[in-house]
Symmetry: C2
Subunit: 150 residues, 2 copies
Amino acid sequence: MFDEVKFSHEYFMRQAIREAEAAFYKDEVPVGAIVVVNNKIIAKGHNQVEMLNDSTAHAEILALTTAYNAFGSKYLPEATLYVTVEPCLMCCGAMYWGKIGKIVYGTTDDKNGYRKFTSSSPLHPKTEIVTGILAVECAKLMKDFFKNKR
Amino acid sequence: MFDEVKFSHEYFMRQAIREAEAAFYKDEVPVGAIVVVNNKIIAKGHNQVEMLNDSTAHAEILALTTAYNAFGSKYLPEATLYVTVEPCLMCCGAMYWGKIGKIVYGTTDDKNGYRKFTSSSPLHPKTEIVTGILAVECAKLMKDFFKNKR
């Protein structure tokens, strides 16, 4: 019972939020991601687009590359990727190629999220999606960040 | 006149094909990409998914990351990316975020190319597309590669 509570989606999303907070304090758009296999965190990442001057350096991409290195595999069907904000099309494409088993995201992103592309899902047909986990906390970080920018 | 010939789409696509050939001889799916600004090649890349065990290591992503580093900028609106095969959704997403000025690709990819997603283009509205440059040569590399696999 203890483990069930510990290893809930909320538990892992809190670790992703920590990553998002790390981005926030570096003045990066606050998105964080972690990759979990068998209830173990095998990779973490937060958005580093500004620091690396690389618009591909999204939290998910950085976490995935770390995860592939950790596992020595380019496919991770057993993995769950937690990310605080709905992934963009690039990141969904990356998860498609990696055959990621499950994606759990916090808040939606109506501007850049993948759901804008409705004719055909960009995700792998076997990828399971869970949404809305700690959505309020995930969204608050984004709102606070962009409020400070205006 | 000489320069016009030299700096044609065909000229630059030949350099991308060289990258694709490098992938081919490493037993990687033969896709090559280069990034050009003001008629200068600022970055090259070829598919390294197998070698790096990283399903994000597409030719375009590797070339873009090199290009961002070379320019110290996360946007490249002045750049043209040449790639031998129609980009996938991940790579289009990457080029969207990088605001790449122009994409020139060789052969189409009906299975994994971005055009499968017809409801809304995944590319930046300002990105220009040129297709079919040395398409036969680009396609031949792919066909030869997959023929050897069967």
